[in-house]
Chain length 414, copies 2
């Protein structure tokens, strides 16, 4: 049986424990929802002040040049690149994950329509984050060229679903609900063996696990910066295009920021040669600038160290729940195998929603997802092993004492 | 001849002069570029602190409910509505102008494809802000259904260009380069007489002139919040849909924020019934929240007062240039007729770029646009009549003394 004292020892031996000091975390809160919204880096406020008071307030319009606002999407992309196994100049931070997915899918279908015009199938998972599927539905319905979305019900069906008819495979590396991680390397190889292109959604993996886009020979990727990358609420997303595809990367959201000469004010669109062709319109600079603060914290460590702690945290949580909550019918839906796990642990329970609400009342912030899923995200940069102990202990106490309101009222945003 | 003393009197009589105190404006700067990036409201920093330290830092994920983050696009839309002659629940603040234009154009073409499928022409101006044209090119090329962009070279050609083949008329109310304002009422009526739908780009009119979308019976509109609305650099844009079109408003950027039940996590997209169907992905909350600060300032006045001062400022500037710079070959490209003028004045000059740079060195911030255009924007909320005097006087001095560097080096962002 693991003891709290064991957890204290684990914290003492934690080589990245000091990074917790980089974050503002409220007293008496154990925050296990960094997989939904990352915590606030302390430096964010200073940077916001600089952007608002100095760059906007004093230098005004001149900041497009002097503060490098116009270059920000590519500068942030270069900072992000090492965390996802990308090269500089392959990724930009811009727009939203949904919009970026639209661009990547459009570009992938365009490439396939030239190379393999008979391929009409887009493969994804029914359990993928819904907006990914919605964007496929939106684009393919409008293109009206016979594209079909083929959804698999579970990961095991992926290999057979990816056949010679498949144009694009769209997968999220770590599932938002279960925390299951897919094998990017083998699935990309399998897709390529069938001349399909891959789009990887990294929302729940960037900053949580070492992503190896180029080592996996992936084609396109998108993801958000406001979860494990701690860029701030709704901070702009990223889009990555493998260097070999950039020259052919073409999408319908052809706005002026993607133009070869945006300030020449030409009436005809000519895409720039670089990854900036994935840009569209003017970006929300204040939100965008704060992404840099989140990314800079990763310079103090390596993704291997982050991953090692992540697995230790999630292993610990699962073991504590097994040891201490066994009688209460929690059904683990996160794989115990390290290679198949991101940085979250999820349980199903008939009273998942009221249980999460009861935990939140005690300052332990996890979240709920339909249907009946309790999610606990473990951000290695600021979560301690004692946090894990305390969270598991609180859940045990709530379950042992039925200390939750079965008909807890639902919030609009769960 | 107007004197500086006349300008001092005008400031003393200015009923909205006190609103200048709401803005941070650097000492020794006369800011005539609010048509590109509005100045910083003093309250912006306090609001940013609240969002970053309180909402993000302390309440964390709970702020999606408790701070109303999820509702922000529609709440800001309701605040904006009276400034553009819209009803509440017809407009949301979200994404970028380019992306919103894409949605509006897609929706308009979809409506026309049902009602008037033979109509294949989209009319716009060659001198429209380029990204508007690029977005048309992007969408129509991808749809591949025979749509054509018909560009007119000048406003006089619009009436004949809008004929029975036209599906959509896409116009910017106030031209970004010349400051010319189109007659929204008559052009919309003309378009409707030919069963064409209208999309109005309000980037250079929202907050500058009283816009009357519903009174003009317009169909769709988009615009930015970072110019005359002072929402902050690159702040999210808006999209307006006339109430009668909302039920038929359908576009391919069908992300989860536009879903009828976004947190039910359904794999099929079902648009919500409200204007929120114009939303797509998760929004950049910090930039978005600051839009409210800019909008709140307008509650202290009426658009008629803003417009009255705007015309007085631009009249004054033109008259001063006529009186004091006549010999120097400045060519006015802004209409002198009030009904045809926004809130900026533009001159062409062979040395426009170095002249603007010389003015900027003296703290008078206008800007340059290709080809050979000097732009001066007059934001009534914070520009004084003495500012106008001083700006015109500095330009006179620079011209009289050839006090500019003819080969001034170009910045990346002009």
């Amino acid at each position: 049986m693991i003891t709290k004292s064991d957890c204290i020892t684990l914290d003492q031996e934690d080589s990245i424990a000091h990074l917790r000091d980089r974050f503002h975390l409220p007293d008496a809160v154990i925050y296990l929802d960094g997989n939904s919204l990352g915590a606030q880096p302390k430096a964010a406020m200073t940077r916001a002040q600089q952007v608002i008071q100095q760059e906007w307030g004093k230098e005004l319009i001149g900041s497009w040049n002097s503060a490098g606002w116009f270059d920000l999407p590519s500068r942030l992309g270069d900072l992000l690149a090492p965390l996802i196994g990308a090269k500089p100049a392959e990724v930009v931070v811009t727009d939203t994950t949904s919009i970026n997915l639209f661009k990547a899918l459009a570009a992938a279908l365009q490439i396939q329509s030239k190379n393999n015009p008979q391929k009409k199938i887009i493969v994804s998972e029914r359990n993928n984050f819904p907006t990914d599927l919605y964007m496929v539905q939106g684009l393919t319905a409008w293109l009206d060229r016979g594209y079909e979305l083929r959804l698999v019900d579970n990961v095991e069906q992926l290999n057979t679903a990816i056949d010679q008819d498949v144009a694009v495979v769209l997968l999220t590396q770590v599932n938002y609900r279960s925390g299951e991680m897919l094998d990017m390397h083998s699935l990309t190889a399998h897709a390529h063996a069938h001349d399909a292109l891959t789009i990887w959604d990294l929302c729940h993996s960037a900053g949580a696990v070492p992503v190896e886009l180029n080592a996996c020979h992936a084609d396109f990727a998108v993801g958000c910066t406001y979860k494990y990358l701690n860029g701030g609420p709704g901070a702009p997303a990223f889009i990555w295009v493998a260097e070999r595809h950039i020259a052919n990367f073409s999408h319908p959201l052809s706005g002026w920021w993607g133009h070869a000469t945006p300030f020449a004010m030409q009436p005809e669109f000519t895409p720039t040669a670089s990854i900036r062709r994935a840009l569209c319109g003017t970006q929300p600079i204040i939100s965008l600038a704060l992404v840099e603060i989140g990314l800079e914290i990763f310079k103090q460590t390596e993704m291997t160290a982050v991953r090692k702690k992540s697995l230790a945290l999630t292993d610990l949580f699962m073991q504590l729940i097994t040891e201490r909550c066994a009688a209460h019918g929690l059904q683990l839906i996160t794989p115990t195998n390290h290679a198949q796990r991101g940085s979250q642990v999820s349980y199903m329970h008939p009273h998942a929603y009221p249980l999460i609400q009861a935990l939140i009342k005690r300052g332990i912030i996890g979240d709920y997802r339909e249907p009946s899923v309790m999610r606990f995200g473990f951000t290695p940069l600021y979560t301690s092993f004692v946090d894990v102990w305390n969270a598991a202990d609180a859940l045990r106490d709530i379950l042992d004492n039925n200390a939750y309101e079965i008909n807890a009222p639902r919030h609009a945003v769960t």
